[in-house]
Amino acid sequence: MSEIEFLNWVRGDGLNLAISVFLLGVIWRLIEIFSLGRKPDLSASRQAAGASGLHTVFRRSLPPPGMVKRSPVSYIGGYIFHIGLAVVVFLFAPHIKLIESLVGLSWPALPSQIIDLVAVITLVAMVVVLVDRFTKPVKRYLSTFEDYFTWTVTFLPVLTGYLAVKHLLLPYTTMLALHILTVEILLVVLPFTKLFHAFTVFGSRWFNGHVNAHKGVPV
């Protein structure tokens, strides 16, 4: 298969398959989780301003007092690469075209030079976060194959995308095809690994906030 045929495949059948598996997986997993139900709380609730499930969904993104000092890489590295990923994925013009073709929505893009810079910063942050994972005792203790696998599957799309745009390493057609392929791999594994936190984080923060709001504690 020549590189242009490979590119046509990942843009065609490959994408069709990947998005389908992604949708199938997300829907199945969400139903699976919510099927277990939850008992209502019969105790008398306490009201407190600023305490609710929804508040926590947003507020939990802020570090609690003293925690950044205890684990700066987790917070700073984590913010940088999450925000970096969001910027690169959602504010790069070719990506916005893709999203427009899928859901019909579009918005202005950032200049490509800024995206390039953000991509590099994201890659660096991800490497730092990886190194932290296998040097810090708690993270190393907790980490399994899945942690390193999901890191790789998230890192490769950013790396291959940057290499493609910059015309580095391999000819553009091949690099672009690899970039799209790595994105497809990411889509396919997302619902079945810890990457699913992209969806469940809203639920977990909400439940936590809700339970504590019942007691009048804003968390």
């Binding site: 994408l15 069709n16 199938l24 829907i27 990506h95 893709l98 490509s112």
Partner: protein, 364 residues
């Protein structure tokens, strides 16, 4: 048999001065990215050359490639050079027809070492019935003609890669010349692919001039295309590249960005994945090329460019509708519902089986 007149002799007979001829050779050297010092070598080689025999086979084609070639058929040196090749068989250009035309081909085939040019793809389905010339299928004619050929030059994407007849669903089983050789259906000969839909006129003549001059196949890329013309992507030579790098894209064909000459990526330009000389040699004797005229590159010198999605879809967009998505969503609901049912019944069984824990249950 008469010795065929050399190119130099033919030119002199036509009234082309030596000076004009040398000017052409200098231009040809430059186009082939050769140093100016090569010009005399080209002149000598061309001058001494006898006109080699060329058989042009046209199969499932639209004749666009011939049209392109003849666009260099203005009173220019290129067209005269082409006359300097003994074009012994060409459906559109030859005077003869019927059995006389086929006879000319057979005569040319009698002296081994001729060059075969092919345009159009070759149908193979249903015994190749979709294209018959003089009672022979294209496949039979190609097989027979390649027997004593020195080399093959495919003119146009159809012959090089299958082109438009090969586009999904490929009803005629169209194949490229190289594919037929790889499958052992025709004799294996050196192939130079000159794709394009059509190729640039001076690219066609330039490849032939190279072959005439050096008597050998030029450097080819992994798809058999001469790197001197197909070595760079349109994108890498495009004058609008700075706008791509900055992310300044035209969004419609007549918006402000379009009028300012911004990059056409969002309007479907396939420049980044297309290898051809359009951005440098350009069309109409160097007048312009699609991007300069405000339309994105359609990628016509690449395999399967007709199946690479809409010409107006950007490279980041899907080439096919995502028709599996709806079904997959439904399947997700079904699987989820199945697991949900199993989960709920397991949980309620566990609840039903609950025996109130007493103190005795705390120790084994």
């Amino acid at each position: 048999m008469n010795r065929r007149p050399t190119v130099a002799e033919q030119l002199a007979k036509r009234g082309v001065s030596r000076r004009a001829f040398l000017k052409f050779c200098a231009a040809a050297a430059s186009l082939m990215a050769l140093p100016p010092s090569m010009a005399p070598a080209i002149a000598e080689a061309l001058g001494k050359r006898t006109r080699p025999s060329v058989i042009w086979l046209s199969f499932q084609e639209c004749t666009g490639c011939t049209e392109s070639l003849t666009r260099s058929h203005t009173p220019t040196i290129e067209s005269l050079i082409f006359d300097m090749i003994s074009l012994d068989y060409h459906h559109t250009l030859q005077a003869a027809s019927g059995t006389a035309a086929e006879h000319a081909r057979e005569q040319a085939m009698a002296e081994p070492g001729y060059l075969v040019l092919v345009d159009g793809s070759i149908p193979t389905k249903d015994d190749g019935i979709y294209s018959i010339i003089a009672g022979m299928t294209n496949l039979q004619m190609l097989k027979e003609t390649l027997e004593n050929a020195a080399a093959v030059v495919t003119i146009g994407t159809c012959a090089a890669f299958g082109g438009i007849p090969k586009a999904d669903p490929n009803p005629t089983g169209a194949k490229s010349v190289q594919a037929l050789m790889d499958e052992g259906l025709v004799p294996r000969k050196p192939v130079i692919n000159v794709p394009g839909c059509p190729p640039i006129p001076t690219v066609i003549t330039g490849v032939l001039a190279h072959y005439l001059t050096f008597g050998e196949i030029p450097e080819l890329d992994h798809l058999g295309r001469p790197t001197m013309y197909f070595g760079d992507s349109i994108h890498d030579r495009c004058y609008r590249r700075p706008f791509y790098d900055q992310g300044k894209f035209a969004k419609t064909f007549d918006d402000e960005g379009a009028r300012k000459g911004w990059c056409l990526f969002e309007l479907g330009c396939k420049g980044p994945t297309t290898y051809n000389a359009c951005a440098t040699a350009k069309w109409n004797n160097g007048t312009s090329f699609p991007i300069e005229s405000g339309h994105g590159c359609i990628g016509c010198s690449e395999p399967d460019f007709w199946d690479a999605g809409s010409f107006y879809s950007a490279l980041s967009m899907p080439t096919k509708p995502l028709d599996l998505a709806a079904g997959a969503a439904v399947a997700g609901v079904v699987i989820g519902a199945g697991v949900a049912f199993a989960n709920r019944s397991k949980k309620s069984s566990a609840k039903a089986a609950h025996k109130a824990t007493g103190l005795a249950d705390l120790e084994k």
